[in-house]
């Protein structure tokens, strides 16, 4: 996985609450068997009209936001389905960071599996950051700044390490193989029906 240290670029505000994973990428694009190429389907319903033409008013279709790398969202971002197609679509579009007051659990986990940094900040801070101009995210320093504003964010140390070092989570767990085998031996005695 690509390590995440700092990121500077366009930040697009989409401040509605409960941006669900159906909105991030609808069902008809879940039929793929690869992880790539989903960026053009990101926010499909909001981004295109019935004829498949871009809606010019939608933020990501506006000339200044086509190179968006950071998304600013409302509370409960990513609620709904477990579809990893949602972070795959974000990543494929070029978005590597989402800043919102709160995230749904499964989506939050899925971000870390894909090198995307979800940053939790109070709504007032998200709104404050949602003005024009690029933002800079500094993960090692745990700050977001831009236009003279700067906010510090909290992140669990293990999550931070995963992103900064671009760790392969499966590889890390496999270093615990002796513990897994020991557990399986205990389990075979304690709960043999499992």
């Amino acid at each position: 996985m690509k390590p995440f240290t700092t990121l500077t670029g366009t930040a697009a505000p989409l401040l509605r609450a409960n941006i669900d994973t159906d909105l991030l990428i609808p069902k008809q694009f879940l039929k793929t068997i690869v992880r790539t190429g989903l960026g053009r389907h990101l926010f499909f319903e909001l981004r295109y009209d019935d004829q498949g033409r871009e809606k010019p008013d939608f933020i990501l279709n506006r000339p200044d936001y086509r190179e968006t790398v950071i998304l600013l969202g409302g509370p409960n971002f990513g609620c709904g389905s477990s579809r990893e197609h949602a972070p795959w679509a974000l990543l494929d579009f070029g978005i590597r960071c989402v800043i919102a007051p709160s995230f749904a659990d499964i989506f939050y986990n899925n971000c870390f599996s894909n090198g995307i940094l979800p940053i939790t900040l109070p709504m007032a801070a998200v709104e404050d950051l949602a003005t024009e101009g690029p933002l800079t995210v500094d993960l090692p320093a745990q700050t977001v700044s831009g236009g003279g504003r700067s906010y510090r964010f909290e992140l669990e140390p293990a999550r931070k390490t995963t992103l900064v070092e671009g760790l392969d989570a499966i590889g890390v767990s496999l270093t615990s193989l002796p513990a897994i085998e020991a557990y399986e031996a205990r389990r075979a005695k304690a709960t043999p029906w499992l």
């Binding site: 509605r16 159906d22 499964i106 513990a179 499992l194």
Partner: protein, 472 residues
């Protein structure tokens, strides 16, 4: 309060803890892994690319459910675009020696229906699936949660997942549910109270007399919807109802192992005096049937209520969100819910596609006719549910009333097959999500119980089902 008192969740967590790492994360052992065609292909591919073996194929049960037609099971029974995933799953289960229920097998159905049906889901186990509604299995006192595809691959390779301990929440539903109401009303009511993010970071244990009185089907409906409250998982402590359901299932323990398992399971319920981070109690004796009006499950009212007015909300952001939702839903503030007409009725899904759900809907449909202009589908959750329903004559009740009787699958819950709600059409749906576009582009979804869905089908608009039941 005794210091050693533990919750059901704490017990499940501790029993599956492989190790706690220096960075504070815990490695949790996964007993059971359900796999379907939509969220698994990239995980199998990941194993191949990394040349990693699949650690415990016997811990898996795979089935096709999301993509398939509910009208035709012969060759070519899915849309062309779905074929790739269907074929990929069949190839993958062969290549990795994964237990699989074939499409034409009677046991085929929605993952969250067949897991319990087969006795694959057991009390005291950990259950995962690349599907958010895995929370369903918590009804058995199993720690069950949805995961992403990378995590599916993680479980394939390690049989574990790095996890963080969630907070404990208890929701007690006390009293006796009125006639015509069920677990779906409890779930929608709760989400209306605590919100779609109310359970975030928590595992919810459902307790209280109204929960103890629920059948396993009802408990599954309740736990299924806990993800819609944002919870990591939902739980109901196992009891005699649970054991009676599990006993004799094909994959459940038998003989001396059953006795041993039973002794273990009896120790699972939350200890007296255990502490919950959040604790709610609701008296549900006077609850009315619930119906959603907006574009997420917390936008819910009593069937006796009206479409709410955004001006009544104090927060401007909330007002704007309500306006957006009403605009999408094509609803006017102040309209009585009972006057809202429907064009589509969907009875099925992992939330409400089990035998008891079909019985409840049939009780309302019996001797009545689907209203003119309404298309009504009944989609059993599995082949076994379908067979049972047919043995009880429920298919005849539905067909005589003008409902369509379909083959099992996820169907119109998310419309990955050809069952969709058209643009601007309004549906009364027993599924779990009323998000924009969920059932089809521009589709207007209202979540209800099976009883309420059947009532809407036969009247052509949302109707307080209690009145239809009184007429009998």
């Amino acid at each position: 309060m005794s210091s050693g008192a533990r919750t059901l969740y704490d017990k499940l967590w501790e029993a599956h803890l492989v190790e706690t790492r220096p960075d504070g994360t815990s490695l949790l052992y996964i007993d059971r892994h359900l796999v379907h065609e939509v969220t698994s292909p990239q995980a199998f591919e990941g194993l191949r690319l990394a040349e990693r073996p699949l650690r415990r194929p016997e811990a898996i049960l795979a089935v096709i459910d999301h993509n398939i037609s509910t009208q035709n099971r012969t060759d070519g029974s899915f849309e062309e675009t779905s074929r790739l995933q269907v074929e990929a799953l069949v190839e993958n289960v062969q290549a990795f020696q994964v237990p699989y229920i074939p499409l034409l097998d009677d046991r085929q159905g929605i993952v969250h229906v067949i897991g319990p049906e087969q006795g694959f889901t057991l009390p005291g186990s950990t259950v995962v699936c690349g599907d958010s509604h895995t929370s369903t299995h918590g009804a058995f006192g199993a720690l069950a949660f949805g995961i992403g595809t990378s995590e599916v691959e993680h479980v394939f390779a390690t049989q574990t997942l790095p996890q963080r301990h969630s907070k404990n929440m208890r929701v007690r539903f006390e009293g006796t549910l009125p006639e015509g109401l069920g677990a779906k009303d409890l779930a929608l009511f709760l989400i209306g109270q605590i919100g779609t993010a109310g359970g975030t970071g928590h595992v919810i244990e459902f307790a209280g007399s109204a929960v103890r009185a629920l059948s396993m089907e009802g408990r599954m409906t309740l736990c299924n919807m806990s993800i819609e409250a944002g919870a990591r998982a939902g739980l109901v402590a196992p009891d005699e109802t649970t054991f009676a359901y599990v006993a004799g299932r094909p994959m459940a323990p038998a003989g001396p192992l059953w006795e041993q398992a039973l002794a273990n399971w009896r120790g699972l319920p939350t200890d007296e005096g255990a502490r919950f981070d959040q604790d709610y109690t609701f008296d549900v004796s006077g609850l009315a049937p619930q119906v959603t009006w907006g574009t997420n499950p917390e936008a819910v009212v009593d069937i006796t209520g009206r479409v709410p007015d955004p001006r009544a909300a104090t927060d401007p952001a909330k007002q704007e969100a309500m306006r957006l939702a009403l605009d999408y839903m094509g609803l006017q503030p102040g309209t009585p819910m009972e006057e809202v007409p429907v064009q589509v009725v969907f009875i099925g899904s992992c939330t409400n596609g089990r035998i008891e759900d079909l019985r409840a809907a049939a009780r309302v449909a019996k001797g009545r006719k689907v209203a003119p202009g309404v298309r009504a589908l009944v989609v059993p959750g599995s082949g076994l549910v379908k067979r049972q329903a047919e043995a009880e004559g429920l298919d005849r009740v539905f067909l005589d009333a003008g409902f369509e009787w379909r083959l099992p699958g996820c169907s119109m819950c998310l419309g990955m097959n050809d069952d969709r709600v058209g643009p601007g059409e309004r549906s009364a749906s027993t599924s779990n999500r009323n998000f924009e576009g969920r059932q089809g582009r521009g589709a207007r979804t209202h979540l209800v119980s099976p009883e309420m869905a059947a009532a809407a089908a036969v009247t052509g608009h949302f109707t307080d089902v209690r009145r239809l039941l009184e007429v009998r």
